[in-house]
Symmetry: C2
């Protein structure tokens, strides 16, 4: 009997003027996407970066949570006035924005009663009905409500919390990938790539990406599939072309 | 007499499975955003990263080109089967996808008649009515049609072409910014920041971003405004708070 594992997809919503303005270089998209695929078989199908504006956050949460199995938000859950993610998600889902009892207790224990000021208390406020995503590095938890998981923007903290998302996620089919690096130009193999892509149409996704290394121009051919067998077949076909065309392969 | 300069905004549409999968770390968002603000006074208000799929590209081009003054696309204008940006934009705007005479001539001259193969010819195909964005590093031009400017995905090539977008852009108000780095925690100043933000509501945008440096926790306070005067005022207010609270400032 075949195991029924479905394709599960997700979107990432990066909330933060500092990413939009270019002041800060985003690192969370690549990290979340790679982690989700290898650990949960979940594919990121869309990313949006938006400003810290309530109306815009609400609209994007509603759109993306309908369109994808999961939405991961990053940013805007800290203690300052520009951290409005939790409040905006509450409004999007029309639930109360209120203290989460366990989050409040965690933060109070972490800071101590005397240092648990209003800014820090704010980090315990979440949409009613949220479950916590524990934070092993700086205490303040993320949360999940419906299919939306909210994580902080600081990469080191986000990275430390991602394992704690796992319990809330339904696993899907992992996408396997293989890269062949060639010392040639894209146009030298574009016709053959196109034919091979047609042959494996729905099963394998072939990408071709130019690179510059050791003073030479090259192309990375990246094949991606949920089937290891199909991935092997497509790479056998690719190697035939490479042999016929006498293209040098860069072994890394 | 006052000069009438408007706020001009734009979106970036990154087209490419390699960015979505996390295989490649995007660098174009930060580059384009910083360049546009300093050189043209144009603010990026939304970024989307989407897969190499025609229907999805068409939908996003139509949505974003209506919503913003300009849309910058990055990726998918090379010679291979997965480069479908130009074709998809043609379909979005219901114009023919055909050889651009000047682009064809540029590429033929660059490669020489003998080496001008089908893959390379493909890079001369564009939506009818496009104007060229010249490429000083690898010849293949980008293009602009309506308010959509299409650039390649490889950062070094994109960077070399960005100056050539200028002639097509209406200039807007530049956003000035100032950063103060403080050795304190966000929650220590969150109340005061919130009050100052309220005072300068529509004119200055205040962001607060935690950092770790020299083994200490800190906060970068970033203020952004189109008015240099208002920016100065808000920073005077901030410095008063910093002095009263005896917070150490990190001079970089």
């Amino acid at each position: 009997m075949r195991k029924k594992i479905k394709k599960i997809n997700a979107a990432i919503l990066i909330i933060g003027n500092e990413i939009l303005s270019g002041r800060t270089q985003d690192k969370n998209v690549a990290f979340i996407s790679k982690w989700l695929n290898s650990n949960c078989g979940i594919s990121i199908k869309e990313v949006r970066i938006i400003p810290d504006e309530e109306k815009i956050i609400i609209k994007n949460i509603l759109t993306l949570s309908k369109k994808f199995n999961y939405v991961f938000t990053s940013g805007g859950i800290g203690p300052t006035h520009d951290d409005i993610t939790a409040k905006s998600i509450s409004k999007a889902f029309k639930v109360k924005y209120e203290y989460h009892e366990e989050a409040y207790a965690i933060l109070e224990r972490y800071y101590g009663k005397k240092k648990f000021n209003d800014g820090r208390k704010k980090m315990a406020k979440m949409p009613r009905g949220s479950k916590l995503i524990y934070n092993p590095s700086s205490a303040a938890p993320g949360f999940i409500i419906k299919n939306v998981l909210s994580l902080p923007g600081v990469p080191s903290i986000l990275n430390s919390m991602i394992e704690n998302c796992k319990r809330y996620l339904v696993k899907g089919l992992k996408i396997h990938s293989k890269t062949i690096n060639l010392f040639t130009v894209e146009s030298n193999i574009s016709k053959q790539l196109s034919l091979i892509q047609k042959k494996y149409k729905k099963f394998v996704d072939i990408g071709s990406y130019p690179f510059f290394r050791l003073g030479k121009i090259g192309v990375a051919i990246v094949t991606r599939s949920t089937s290891l067998k199909k991935l092997k077949n497509v790479n056998t076909d690719l190697m035939k072309v490479i042999k016929i065309k006498k293209i040098e392969v860069l072994n890394l």
